[in-house]
């Protein structure tokens, strides 16, 4: 039953990569936040920044560990579940992942040791350098993996020989047409998600006497980042959408729920796409707005799903609803960032309780938006694994369905357990909060050896 094996392999990959991406999304942003905190500490010498660093580095370490263990799985899963894909695209994607290991993974792993355990063993500036290197490492890693992912959406710089991809031009492969949109979009998603987590956790710490003063700088940085990043991300998303329209018009059609090619296409606020009937139910539409956004012309023509055969269309409802979740949350973050600016101007940022509650409630929403965005882009590419060139159904390994079912069930059990444990220890760390008493400037401690 090849159909079952394909679905199961896809489910397993979707589960493992969705689980994995939660942690890098947080750690890319947190690493940069830690760089900011340590720089402020070195600059001002104010102990509060070191206290905050020591608190957030624990959350960083916990999350980074989860990212590492779930990431190792992925480096083998290309082969275990998508062997055919590995053979066909290995000449192109293999070296990109190889460069990710060589330029990022080793860098992060080695300096993470210094960052987490080395504060008493190396001088402060060297420790700061380690934090910076880890932060840069997380972004280099994102660079390569997004180059690889983007290539699957907008393949370039290749030629096909006997059904195998060969490289014509590495710059064209790496800097493929969607890379410059996807890479900043994901980096900003990561920074936004982190801002929301830091703002939410700090908002909670603001309500407690013992941690209120300590939480202020973190809350100020996070809400300011939110106010700057949220509008930028919306602009970035709009530019990304224009690019998708050029290269993957059926993904746009699914995002918009548009069946017929239409001049002056409406924007659907809500609808229930019906793939069998090739139409929507319960439409709530704003006339001409989709054309205006996508073509910058209210009468512009947007291609509909009926341009291609039903077998060549993605799973429309999934793309359609995920897109609305992502965009809706994007505007919610814009509102939250703007409100923060307003309160800052009024001087009530730290004392406004409803705003603190909104921030707490919004803490996990960055992850929801990021996952929704990845679902839009990845399922929107279906039925292709390499847009227009290789179908996902042709990509899987010759592993029997029951073997995949076994490992898929185990992944559910293992990752479920891990997520519960992670959230439990995370909440424990957050409850403990930043600890001013534990903050001795590290370089004054007697354990420091003389040669340094």
């Amino acid at each position: 039953m090849p159909f079952d094996a394909v679905i199961l392999a896809r489910l397993q990959f979707a589960l493992t990569i969705s689980f994995h991406i939660l942690f890098p999304t947080l750690t890319i942003g947190l690493a940069l936040f830690l760089v900011i905190l340590e720089a402020l500490w070195l600059r001002t010498g104010q102990a509060v920044y070191l206290t905050l660093y020591r608190f957030w580095v624990k959350i960083f370490a916990l999350s980074f560990g989860m990212g590492v263990v779930s990431g190792v799985v992925l480096s083998y899963e290309f082969g275990t579940n998508f062997a055919r894909f590995s053979e066909v695209t290995g000449n192109i994607l293999g070296p990109l992942l190889g460069y990710e290991v060589l330029t990022a993974f080793f860098l992060e792993a080695s300096f993470l040791g210094v960052m987490l355990f080395g504060m008493q063993r190396v001088p402060p500036r060297l420790h700061f350098a380690a934090t910076c290197i880890v932060s840069i490492g997380t972004m280099i890693s994102a660079f390569w993996i997004l180059a690889a992912s983007s290539w699957m959406h907008t393949p370039a710089g290749y030629r096909l020989v006997d059904g195998i991809f060969h490289v014509e031009s590495w710059p064209a492969v790496i800097f493929n047409p969607s890379f410059f949109y996807r890479f900043p979009h994901m980096l900003m998603a990561s920074f936004l998600t982190t801002s929301l987590v830091v703002a939410g956790v700090s908002a909670w710490h603001l309500q407690r006497i013992q941690s209120a003063a300590l939480a202020r700088p973190a809350f100020a940085i996070a809400t300011l980042a939110l106010a700057i990043l949220a509008p930028l991300q919306i602009v970035m998303g709009d530019l990304h959408g224009l690019q998708v329209q050029r290269h993957q018009p059926m993904k746009i059609a699914a995002m918009e729920g548009l069946w017929e090619t239409t001049a002056g296409a409406p924007l659907l606020v809500f609808a229930w796409p019906d793939m069998a009937a090739e139409r929507n139910h319960f439409e709530i539409a704003i006339p001409k707005l989709a054309s205006l956004i996508l073509q910058h012309d209210p009468e512009g023509t947007v291609l509909g799903l009926k341009e291609v055969a039903p077998a060549d269309r993605p799973l429309v409802p999934l793309v359609f609803f995920s897109f609305r979740i992502m965009v809706g949350l994007g505007f919610w973050f814009l509102f939250l960032g703007g409100l923060g600016l307003l309160l800052r101007w009024r001087g009530t940022l730290y004392s406004n309780r409803p705003y603190a509650l909104l921030c707490m409630a919004s803490a996990p929403l960055g992850f929801v938006a990021t996952l929704a965005g990845w679902i839009v882009t990845e399922t929107g590419r279906q039925p292709w694994i390499v847009q227009g060139l290789m179908r996902t159904s042709e990509a899987v390994s010759a592993v029997p369905a029951r073997a995949i079912l076994t490992t898929l069930s185990l992944f559910f059990a293992v990752y479920g357990t891990l997520l519960v444990a992670y959230l439990y220890y995370l909440s424990k760390l957050i409850r403990q909060g930043p600890d001013a008493a534990a903050t001795q400037p590290a370089h004054d401690e007697p354990t420091r050896t003389a040669w340094m």
Binding site: Y76, L107, G113, M119, V122, V167, V414
Partner: protein
Amino acid sequence: MDASFWIPLIWAGVLCLGLMLYVILDGFDLGIGILFPWGRTDEERDLMMNSIAPHWDGNETWLVLAGGGLFAAFPKAYGLLMTALYIPILFMLFALVFRGVAFEFRFKAERSRGVWDVAFNLGSVMAAFFQGTVLGAFIQGFQVTDGKFTGNVMDWLTPFSLMTGFALVCGYALLGACWLALKTEGALQRWAFHAGQVLMFVVLAWIAMVSLATPLMSAEVAARWFSLPNLFWLMPVPILTIVVGWMLWRALRRQSPWAPFVLTITLFALGAFGLAVSLWPYTVPRVFTLWETAAPPASQGFLLVGAVALLPLILGYTAYNYWVFRGKVHPGAGYH
């Protein structure tokens, strides 16, 4: 003798080196996990774990390099091997997940600490065991028709692969004991030297059994070792193994801190050399050579430039990481 000959050969060398580094580096830290239940007190177990806490992530990255490197340089072999080894590879990954998170979770847990002790121990044992079975299954070879794996999903499980699985658990435990002897003092160190002596004999016995079983299984391997003049050239390998074993025993007896670790690594290197002799030049044993599965020079060459430029740098800062955390590990030595 052009690029399409040399570049795959260099890549095979780089990957063998990476895999060897993985086995040594993650070998000793998986070994600590295997020996974990013998840590008598919570404090001893803290020490054991702290001796590897700053290093394990970097050590495991060599496994990612092996996977990523195989995907990049020999994509055909990567696809075929991962299909054939689906079950042991995924079980190894599950095991690595559990032992990896234990580093973070254990120090944050209070009542549930025992759970993560067990996760760390079982995860380490199972990861080592499945790596050993992967090696055994690889030595035995796979059923391939028209360039595709046509065997059964459980073909990897044989008496021989079980044997290599147990052998690797013992081998990693020996590496772990030597690392512990190097990094600790007092009672724990004395115990590590004793454990090392016992494990050493077990490991030498496993090496002997695997070395005998391999040529018995394959006429090609037997011919390579026992025909003249090969026999003459390869004779030093088993002789050196015996000599190193004897030196290791002496070093463990006189409780020298560095010598056992270095000698155990030498033992592993000799074993790896022996395997390389038996398996050369295949990426899928006795089916595909490394040249038949190589990515074209445009792909291999592109990544090779990076590997040649960056691997010395990586080795450099890995060495720096070990230098920062050199010396004995002490109780309460600051987590974070």
